[in-house]
Amino acid sequence: MSPKNKTGSPKTSDHKKREDANIDHLLKQTLKDDLPVDAEAVMKNQLEGFRLKLEEASGRTWAGQKTFQAILNLMDVRWARILVKKEVVLVISLMMIVLGSFIHSSGSPNQLTENLSVLGTSVVVSNEMIRSQSMECSIQMYGDNQEPLHYAIQWLSPNLSKVHVEDSRNAPLKTIWISEEDIVIDDHITDRRFEKKISTQLDDPILKPIVGYLEPEELVERMYGEWKLLKYQKQKECAQGIFAIALSDERATLEVTLDLCTHLPVSIKKILHGEEFGEERVIFNVRYTWNIPISPQSLAPTQILENPKG
């Protein structure tokens, strides 16, 4: 039943448009963009306070870590006198992590424990990742009721990335180039190219699952801020260490395998736990190669496609 006006006849499209325009005009005129100076000053103060709070929080974290660093340094000296090997530092840090996770699991909240695990992971792994110059990784993604996707990512310090996405039959779906300012996306299905500013970055659903794994710093940020260590296991025979990490907002764990010679991740596996999945289901599997030579030219967008299909 179409809406009727006061005379009982159906509203015409013009009448509806006029009515919409009237209500829009009424709202715009009444709720004007007329922020007064005093209200603006108050809110600016609040924002400034927020900026300081962020900086302060960052400083506090490091103050805690520095205190613990002093203890750790003493330990380093004693151990180093005996063994004088860089691996010892790693062993100490990892022992701290295991100790930290043990206290975590026993349910006693302890700031020192937090510092221990943060320090351990930060120093040994994060530092190496941040210092890395290039990275290649291959991600196999197994979605819900979807074909598995394959992502090949190349990253060159400080901020050049290329992501190539293929379906399970190796047919290319998308290629994405990310630089400091721009994102260029080639959609191989429609043969079209899109260019975006970095501020509108990565709203592409195909990229959503891998956000956070595109650059080492993003990965470090997650390890530093979000992930909680569950356990650590060392595999002597292949000089690898495996961290099991809980994700704060999901029923999933990450299995991060480290190369104990380079202190860099070799692979990350995300495993979803739940009765509805039977036992466990691997959602994605990432394999890393670090510090291999990559030329910046190879990460620049290829020439624009000449004959788009439509």
């Binding site: 005009h25 709720l31 108050v42 609040q46 927020f50 929080a57 960052s58 010892v88 970055q201």
Partner: protein
Amino acid sequence: MDIVTTAAKHVVLDRESSLTALESTVNKKESLSYERLIAPIETQMMRSIWRIVRNREAAEDTMQNALTTIWKKLDRIRRHPNPHAFILKVCVNAAYDTLRRSWRFRQHEASMEIQKLPADPDTNGLYRLEKKNLEIEILNAIRRLPRNQALAVLMRIVQDQPYDFIAQVMDCSEVTVRIHVSKGRAKLSRWLSHLDPTGPEETKNESKE
């Protein structure tokens, strides 16, 4: 023995330089977070809150609530595909909550406005009162809308945001946003049909003449 001591010092120095490098990187990242996430949309945040709450104290409370939510969800915002949209949603949401919460205060504010008028008010006084009443009536109507319709109407009609942006903010499709706007507009049109859309401006112009 000397070699061992030198090596031990080297380990410590290596640890210190590692930490310093990491510290500067993380500090830089924290400040970059503000610069990247909030600084570019500071004005938009303040204005989007003001256009909805239209009162200094309420704006201050709303901004405080919005910043608290942003603080709690900072990690999520950092890895959100469109962090600016997410932050603006937090602001509009907080403003809508204030609107719903502070309704009684609004009514009180209107009655105070009447009390402030002199016994024989001039045209400007009457204009101010009429404007305030109109504002309160419209905000009351928006307050009565379901949350999604209210957010869509505020962002589309009041703040002139494009549909695709609102869709990102509300985490739904553009079609859904259009439906929210259309339904919200229809309800407002019905509830506010007795108002002359050009009312206060015309009155103002007439008074000037």
